[in-house]
């Protein structure tokens, strides 16, 4: 992170290049045609927020069904569809666009660039998302009119041969994934070339803000893995409609090959969702601890190590499929090796706070909550990485609990950290601290209800117990012995879901008005972006900053 001292004030008087000094179409046309990084960032973030609630409503229906044993509200086929589409929506249409929205808003501001290097590609990257989201969810509505049998019911993993035999929803999801993949690749290429070519003079790679570093590794991971997923689902499509047998054992194909191809993408995808959050955390922790980032280089090397390891560990997602023992041992130890660079990151985050003059504004609360809860994801991940233990936990609610600690506490709470941290910079207004704190505590209490001296998690922690007791995932009905924990889990999920309305309300209020903030929103914040007024002018940097 930069410790930047301004020696000349920012001015917007100069008009340069192909930027049309503040002249842009108004109304809807502005948003359809914009190539401005801040406009596109806003659209990504708005889209992510909408889809977060769409995916959330789906899973609340699932949790309502699971409140009691027996089938109450829906047929098992519809239950399966909700689970699969919930995951695809949350991953591809909520978390990834939110991180891309951050990148669009922040990377040019942080590296002193006037805009992204490829602004038109940037516009395309966003506008591919809404059609993809429509393709994902449309089969639900088509089924109401007797067209098809609903959305994909295979879970988000598309496992063959179920997906080869599935209905119309699988085709819609395959096309949606292709489009989402193209959008991600376009966004990634743009971010890579922007970071490499558009940095302010003097900003060497080892002066790059950690958020940009986290995104750089993410972008390379996307470039390496999205085409593999696209290839796998293209082969699935040809299996379904063009008589090939890539994954159909009856025709000499190999269904396990699909699992390898899918998880070659799927495991790095976890880090694709988390690396941008890991990149923003040091900024927030340093700001509210009023200390420099601890271990800048160690964190950079940690990001790179995690990025490299993430593409060589994929088979731990299906240990139970029947692999040779040497392969099991290799994937077990390589998976466990990820905990080393991750421990370095945890150490640096805690060391940044150590003996700092800490204050607990909403972003800092979310950051500290992230560290604690994401730590649980890391520890339960180690358990699942153990081949012998995984045989017990595989396909159980223990896995569901683990990856929600990673992707809700690690991903979504990280996104909320970033929103609260940067929202005053983006809007020029301060959000309501009171509402923010209510939002944090309701989120964390519904995620973690304090139970004697331990954290007892209302939503996901009981799922660990359910998993240990043997409750399988992706079933709409269950044995009586699981009833209590499921009831608690459902109550927690509804509190969690409704408490997010506070977040949406707080953001809306802040966008519409509120107390004005200066350029340096947070006393302890460092970096180029805090040199610009709040909100930044339409064309961010018109005077080129030079980092000495």
């Amino acid at each position: 992170m930069n410790t930047a001292t301004t020696t000349a004030p920012h001015t917007t008087a100069h008009h340069t290049g192909d930027h049309d000094g503040g002249h842009y179409p108004g109304g809807l046309l502005r948003w359809l045609t914009t190539t401005n990084h801040k406009d596109i960032g806003t659209m990504y973030l708005t889209f992510a927020m909408v889809m977060f609630f769409v995916g959330g409503i789906m899973i609340l229906a699932v949790r309502a069904e699971l409140f009691q044993p027996g089938l109450q509200l829906m047929k098992p086929e519809f239950f399966n569809q909700l689970i699969g589409v919930h995951a695809l929506v949350m991953i591809f249409a909520a978390l990834m666009p939110a991180a891309t929205g951050f990148a669009n808003w922040q990377i040019p501001l942080m590296i002193g660039a006037p805009d992204m290097a490829l602004p038109r590609i940037n516009n395309w990257g966003f506008w591919l998302l809404p059609p993809a989201a429509i393709l994902l969810t449309l089969p639900f509505f088509l089924a109401l009119f007797g067209i098809g049998d609903g959305a994909l019911a295979t879970g988000w993993t598309f496992y063959a041969p179920l997906s080869v035999q599935g209905g119309l929803g699988v085709d819609f999801a395959i096309f949606a994934v292709h489009i989402l993949g193209v959008s991600s690749v376009l966004g990634s290429i743009n971010i890579i070339v922007t970071i490499f070519n558009m940095r302010a003079p003097g900003m060497t790679m080892m002066k790059l803000p950690l958020f940009a570093w986290g995104w750089l590794i993410t972008a390379f991971l996307l470039i390496a893995t999205i085409p593999v997923l696209a290839g796998a689902v293209t082969m699935l499509l040809t299996d379904r409609h063009f008589g090939t047998h890539f994954f159909d054992a009856a025709g000499g194909g190999d269904p396990i090959l699909f699992q390898h191809l899918f998880w070659f993408f799927g495991h790095p995808e976890v880090y694709i969702l988390l690396l941008p959050v890991w990149g923003l955390m040091p900024h927030v922790l340093a700001t509210f601890s009023r200390k420099p980032v601890y271990g800048y280089k160690a964190q950079v090397y940690g990001f790179i190590a995690i990025g490299v390891l993430s593409v060589i560990v994929w088979a731990h997602h299906f240990f139970t499929v029947g692999m040779p023992v040497p392969a099991l041992i290799y994937f077990m130890f390589s998976t466990m090796a990820i905990s080393l660079p991750l421990a370095v990151l945890f150490f640096c985050w805690i060391a940044t706070m150590w003996k700092g003059a800490m204050s607990f504004e909403t972003p800092m609360l979310f950051a500290v909550g992230f560290i604690v809860l994401f730590g649980i994801a890391g520890l339960t991940g180690l358990v699942l990485a153990d081949v012998a233990a995984d045989a017990q936990y595989h396909h159980s609610y223990f896995v569901v609990a683990h990856f929600h600690y990673a992707l809700f506490a690690g991903g979504i709470m990280g996104v909320m950290t970033g929103v609260y941290y940067w929202l005053p910079k983006w809007t020029g207004h301060m959000y309501s601290e009171t509402l923010g704190k209510w939002h944090f505590w309701l989120t964390v209490i519904s995620f973690n209800l304090t139970f004697i001296p331990q954290f007892f998690n209302v939503l996901f922690f009981p799922q660990h117990f359910l998993g240990l007791a043997g409750m399988p995932r992706r079933i709409p009905d269950y044995a009586l012995q699981f009833a209590e924990f499921n009831a608690i889990s459902t109550v927690g999920s509804f509190i969690l879901g409704f408490s997010q309305l506070l977040f949406a309300w707080n953001v809306w209020r802040c966008v519409k008005g509120g107390e004005k903030v200066p350029a340096q929103v947070w006393e302890g914040a460092e970096g180029l972006e805090w040199q610009l007024p709040s909100p930044p002018p339409y064309h961010s940097w018109e005077i080129q900053p030079t980092v000495k």
């Binding site: 992170m1 930069n2 410790t3 930047a4 001292t5 301004t6 020696t7 000349a8 004030p9 100069h14 340069t16 290049g17 002193g112 006037p114 290097a117 490829l118 590609i121 690749v185 990634s188 290429i189 743009n190 890579i192 070339v193 922007t194 070519n197 558009m198 003097g202 080892m206 002066k207 790059l208 470039i223 390496a224 999205i226 085409p227 593999v228 696209a230 290839g231 293209t234 190999d254 396990i256 090959l257 390898h260 191809l261 420099p292 980032v293 271990g295 800048y296 280089k297 160690a298 640096c348 180029l528 040199q531 940097w541 018109e542 005077i543 080129q544 900053p545 030079t546 980092v547 000495k548």
Partner: protein
Amino acid sequence: MAVALAAAVSFLGNSANSQVIMNAPFSIADLARRRGKAHRFAWLLGVIVLAIYIVGMFVKRG
């Protein structure tokens, strides 16, 4: 010991304690040069993505 500690601190520390000077507007020629480089790099990355996509179709499990 002190030398080792100093080296460790240097390894861990933030190398970005820098001053920022803002006194020159962006030059159109410099921006055009950088965007040109970015375009060429983007095409290279696009070709790599396409190559991985096509090669992925021919993967067989041993």
